[in-house]
């Protein structure tokens, strides 16, 4: 990896950018029930994450536009914060990363 670094962070510490790699597995389709369950969870959580991000972006736009009362901002913020925390728990439970929650739609690009 190091020889691909054109410009490292100012302090020189690359550790925060390194992530443990995990095997993608075999090149063959794996039909064991556990992987199928994980695959299904990944699909469902991807859709939930899509909706969460869309709603959060909409909320941020409305806050930027100044059209919400303090109480509404607080309530929205709490809702998104709790949803974010719950999504993180579910991802952990199924051994998924945030990057796993995306779908490649071929010519249409990525979902998120």
């Amino acid at each position: 990896m190091k020889d691909k670094v054109l410009a490292g962070p100012l302090g020189g510490d690359l550790d925060p950018f390194a992530k443990p790699t995990r095997s993608i597995g075999s090149r063959r389709f794996d039909a064991d029930p556990e992987s199928l369950e994980r695959g299904l969870a990944q699909l469902v959580l991807t859709i939930v994450e899509l909706l969460r991000q869309l709603m959060e972006r909409q909320a941020l736009r409305r806050i930027d536009g100044g059209g919400l009362t303090d109480e509404e901002v607080e309530r929205l913020g709490r809702t998104f914060m709790e949803l974010d925390a719950r999504m993180a728990e579910l991802r952990d439970q199924f051994g998924l990363d945030a990057e796993d929650l995306n779908l490649d739609l071929g010519p249409l690009g990525r979902l998120l």
Partner: protein, 203 residues
């Protein structure tokens, strides 16, 4: 079975065991398929292959794990997308992909639990994060032929399509930006094959 590596319009054959099959104006570069597990080493080996191929020709990397029966099947697979692939190849000609990742000060720390932050603070942090991402991305995008913001947990994860002879200038701009935005830790890697610019609709 053969594994497709890249699409090019350069007719120069690669060194064995790699092969190339001409399909109209395009060539598909391939490697004999292997059953080895897909781990970090396998990805790096493929990366090295693609970089060697990229030294002598412009190419579009094919999605990892694209296996077909033989050269004829390879041609059949790309034939319906010939025009689109030729346009994509034109888009990346003479350019490489550079990747930038930017981490905010709080990225190392676990997310605050819902009780530790008010809803207003949470949203304010999100807005600040978005603003920071724009601040880093905009000047780099201006120095690139094309750019795409990718999904990731960082403040910014983005890919930039940069002319080969503009790479040094891009890196110099990146270094200046590191000083201007000292609240984020940033790393720039590359040059990579144009992974993020091979599909139409990107950039």
């Amino acid at each position: 079975m053969i594994e497709l590596l890249a699409i090019t319009d350069d007719a120069t054959p690669p060194d064995p065991p790699l092969g190339a099959v001409r399909c109209g104006r395009l060539s598909v570069l391939w490697a004999p398929a292997t059953e080895a597990a897909l781990d970090a080493d396998a990805l790096w080996q493929r990366e090295v292959l693609l970089e060697q191929l990229m030294e002598r020709r412009d190419l579009l990397p094919v999605r990892l794990g694209t296996l077909v029966a033989d050269e004829r099947a390879a041609c059949e697979a790309i034939a319906p997308r010939g025009e689109e692939l030729a346009r994509a190849l034109e888009r990346v000609r003479g350019a490489v992909e550079l990747s930038v990742r930017a981490l905010g000060a709080s990225d190392d720390a676990p997310s605050p639990a819902p009780g530790e932050q008010t809803g207003r603070e949470y949203l304010r942090d999100r807005l600040a994060r978005d603003a920071l991402a724009r601040e880093v991305h905009a000047p780099l995008a201006a120095a690139a032929r094309a750019s795409v913001v990718l999904d990731g947990p960082e403040v910014l994860r983005a890919a930039y399509l940069v002319d080969r002879d503009e790479v040094d200038a891009f890196v110099a701009r990146f270094r200046r930006l590191q000083h201007e935005c000292s609240s984020v830790a940033m790393v720039c890697t590359g040059p990579w094959p144009p992974y993020s610019f091979a599909e139409e609709g990107d950039a």
